[in-house]
Symmetry: C2
Amino acid sequence: MEFQEYFPIWNQLNTVQQNRIQGSLTLRRVGRGTVIHHDSGDCAGLLLIRTGQLRAYILSEEGREVTLYRLFERDMCLFSASCIIRSMQFEVTIQAEKDTELWVIPSETYKALMEESVPVANYTNELMASRFSEVMWLMEQIMWKSLDRRVAAFLLEEASIEETSQLKITHEAIANHLGSHREVITRMLRYFQNEGMVKLSRGKIELINAGLLKDLCEG
Amino acid sequence: MEFQEYFPIWNQLNTVQQNRIQGSLTLRRVGRGTVIHHDSGDCAGLLLIRTGQLRAYILSEEGREVTLYRLFERDMCLFSASCIIRSMQFEVTIQAEKDTELWVIPSETYKALMEESVPVANYTNELMASRFSEVMWLMEQIMWKSLDRRVAAFLLEEASIEETSQLKITHEAIANHLGSHREVITRMLRYFQNEGMVKLSRGKIELINAGLLKDLCEG
């Protein structure tokens, strides 16, 4: 059993609690692109990522998307189990951005632990505060930063996650991450190309001057 | 001592814990307009509102504001004590919108309780989830709703809070709430006036057809 190495407060649980988690846990594999959680009514359980990458986003009625944050190896996804906290009243969609292996802790198991264990309750607090902080950061980006800076920041973040300066991503996908439109993103990327920051080719964006992009972000 | 009637989990604390809170509690009166909390380094403590009204907002470097949410009688403000949760890494400014009486629970007292009491830890979870939900709602408004709907929704909310259809509020103040500019708000309000929704006069906005405003919000 590897789970215990990934669950940061494992050693703060007693044996009965550890057994209860181990007995209810399942390991699930999901392919890239799979929507794991959509409706807030669907209280699937907490997800702990073993390998891979998830994306949390919100969706407008017309189908526009904005990426709220990403989850990586060892990250825990709380919002797929929104029923465990009564006041959590918003809908977030969770999608696998890469092939992903994750453990599912059933909501009832986790909720019962939260109601008897101070470490579990406070760990949940920290998780929520951490996602809240990411959403607040994004809110500030949207409110105060112009789109050129947001696109530049997105390209740099993407290059850092993928560990390459050759991004395979469509303009449509970037628009979805940023809550914008494809045409707007294409125009911006062409401007970046003219400025010598990127080189565009079919389905690919190459970062040829990350320094200029960073200057733009911080400018 | 009235505090115990306002603090919803009072009866779930033991006598030692109750005494610890009562012994460290202070009642504070702040005038309308007072900024109670600004810097995240300033960990003043948790605020429980006895009477009055607070506003939580974020501030850009150029001084533009966006209201995140309001707190009323019996509401607890968590973000004036951000040091109690390590992962809470964002800055929110808290201002008294009316003359306000509030109890301050020192951060150390509350943090110590969170670390020993499951009810306190889970109550904190609920508080955070509830603020998080309000911010997510706002985020959706900003991303998906056009400004005309946001202004209409703001006027209706304000009329409901103040229990009057005669709002004493400047265009500048509305712009601050919505993260917009005064000129933009003035233009929008003139449009509303032409449509017969409001009547504008010096420092006042009268809602003369709330039904039309509601239609606009929901449209």
